[in-house]
């Protein structure tokens, strides 16, 4: 595992060329939504490097641009300025399997849970070809196994509207994982879950990362979750959105829930908390 890098500073073009590209790299990325009067600057001159197989958590106040970063890295939106590279190429062209769990579950309402989770297998190569070659029943078993891992056994024939919010979120997590992505984007994947289910899924997630070593970018509001799961935690600030801190998480793996009550663990979450609180921009007077 590469050691955590300190907060990247804007570099000269030469420096950028001489340095090998990381698996995911944001270079002076600025993103503004909308035009003219209603313009919102979501992200400002942001640099971020993620090495292959790393696990990064993004934390920060609501509206600071976390989801925006994920969408930029998956190529769902294009940066207003700056560059986004994935696997050495500009985003969009890279032959990398990407899995994304959106902040809202966004399951397709006309498909059952099983069919929803099947979707990536229908689309993404090499599974796409296998899907055509009628390996569906094999896929089905795999999906059932994954669903039962997140506690959704027996729900595979339900439609999304027949599920609770937390169940939909877990299904959406399964959809992000089923095609064994090399790059995993998780936007608050455990946000709608109770404490115990959440902790259970942290365990599942950690095990998955330790065995398959995908590159993970996790957005979360739960600092304990960030410290439990990630190798590096990036703290963001709002208005304008940017990364103000990048710290390594030194705890050995596999981490356990008990560890999260150790003094150095709580010290870390405490420090992150302070940072986010202090980074809040002074309350602006109402316009």
């Amino acid at each position: 595992m590469t050691p955590a890098t300190v907060l990247d500073l804007p570099m000269s073009p030469q420096a950028a060329l001489s340095r090998p590209r990381a698996f995911v790299e944001l270079e002076r990325v600025t993103h503004t939504y909308g035009r003219g009067e209603r313009q919102v600057q979501a992200l400002m001159e942001t640099n971020l490097r993620i090495e292959e197989g790393d696990f990064i958590a993004l934390v920060g106040p609501s509206g600071c641009g976390k989801s925006t970063i994920l969408k930029l890295v998956t190529g769902l939106i294009n940066a207003s300025s700056g560059y986004v590279y994935v696997a050495g190429r500009e985003v969009g062209a890279e032959p990398v399997r990407v899995g994304m769990a959106f902040q809202n579950p966004t399951l397709l309402p006309w498909l059952t849970l099983l069919e929803n989770v099947m979707l990536p297998l229908k689309i993404v190569p090499p599974f796409r070809q296998e899907y055509r070659a009628k390996r569906k029943s094999e896929f089905r078993d795999r999906i059932e196994a994954l669903l039962s891992q997140v506690g959704l056994a027996g729900f595979s024939n339900k439609y999304p509207w027949q599920l609770s919010g937390g169940m939909m979120q877990r299904a959406s997590l399964c959809r992000a994982l089923i095609h064994e992505p090399q790059l995993l984007m998780l936007d608050e994947p455990f946000g709608a879950l109770d404490q115990f289910t959440r902790e259970e899924l942290w365990g599942v997630m950690q095990e998955l990362w330790m065995t398959r070593k995908p590159t993970v970018l996790l957005v979360t509001h739960d600092l304990k979750e960030a410290a439990y799961l990630a190798n590096r935690i990036c703290v963001m600030q709002a208005r304008p959105g940017r990364i103000i801190d990048d710290s390594a998480v030194p705890f050995p793996r596999p981490r356990t829930i008990v560890m999260s009550y150790y003094p150095d663990f709580t010290a870390l979450t405490q420090r992150l908390r302070e940072m986010i609180v202090h980074a809040q921009p002074a309350k602006e007077a109402a316009p």
Partner: protein, 257 residues
């Protein structure tokens, strides 16, 4: 279930009541059957002259269904084109609106000029009358697809075609079926217009001849057949609709599979 049964019985009773009131009013005010025949007279005419009416009814159904099928085919194609491309939308929509504002009776003579009197103009009239609601609804369904749902596919690097097949079309299905229910009645209108103007077969023609000889019960028998056919197709499509688009109404029967 009980409540549903009661609702059905209520609506059936009301429909029967409508015909009963019609019958009673005609009897009570002594309305002559050359003005407005009573339902019972219409049914008697229908039954007693059935062998003469039947071939016309078959002709009308046939024409309507062929026109309707063509309407669905081209309607969906044009709708997909307009709904999935900004340029096609900007060009196609004004054209379509302009075209649909033309009274369709006016185009029948043109079709007759091109294809001769008979079945072909009727099929084409049925088609162009039913195509507009299909195109508009399919296009609307596609154009209003939630970007979040498309994002799910785009994050997987799905092609435009994959997105259309897996998200756009299923998403447009409720709109499509809603349009079919309007379109099928429109197809009947188109057929009957063309038959009235330029054909020697079909219910439209039958009614034209009947009205010119003041055979009013026969005219109404023709109308009744059209109404029944229309309702029949409407029911058929509603039935398919529930199976296919139950998700949009969170229908329990749909969820049972």
């Amino acid at each position: 279930m009980n409540q549903q049964l009661r609702r059905r019985m209520g609506s059936t009773a009301l429909i029967i009541g409508f015909f009963v009131v019609w019958e009673v009013l005609c009897l009570g005010f002594g309305v002559r059957d050359i003005v407005l025949p009573r339902p019972s007279e219409i049914v008697i005419t229908l039954v007693s002259r059935f062998p003469g009416i039947w071939p016309h009814a078959v002709q009308t159904i046939y024409t309507t269904l062929v026109g309707f099928a063509l309407g669905i085919l081209f309607g969906v194609l044009i709708g997909v084109l307009i709904g999935s491309s900004r340029l096609a939308y900007d060009v196609g929509y004004p054209l379509l609106v302009g075209f649909s504002s033309i009274p369709k009776v006016a185009v029948v003579p043109i079709f007759v000029l091109w294809f001769g009197a008979g079945t072909v103009p009727a099929v084409l009239t049925a088609m162009i009358l039913c195509i507009f609601p299909i195109v508009v609804n399919v296009a609307t369904g596609l154009a209003t697809t939630e970007p979040e749902l498309e994002d799910v596919m785009r994050a997987l690097k799905a092609s435009k075609l994959d997105i259309l097949i897996n998200v756009g079309l299923p998403r447009a299905m409720p709109y499509f079926f809603a349009s079919l229910k309007v379109a099928v009645t429109q197809a009947f209108v188109g057929t009957v217009i063309a038959e009235t103007v330029a054909s020697n077969k079909g219910i439209g023609n039958l009614m034209m001849i009947a009205s010119s000889s003041f055979d009013v019960p026969l005219v109404f028998a023709g109308l009744l057949i059209l109404a029944v056919l229309g309702v029949g197709l409407y029911v058929l499509f509603s039935f398919i609709e529930v199976r296919v688009t139950g998700w949009a109404r969170r229908n329990d029967e749909f969820a049972m599979g």
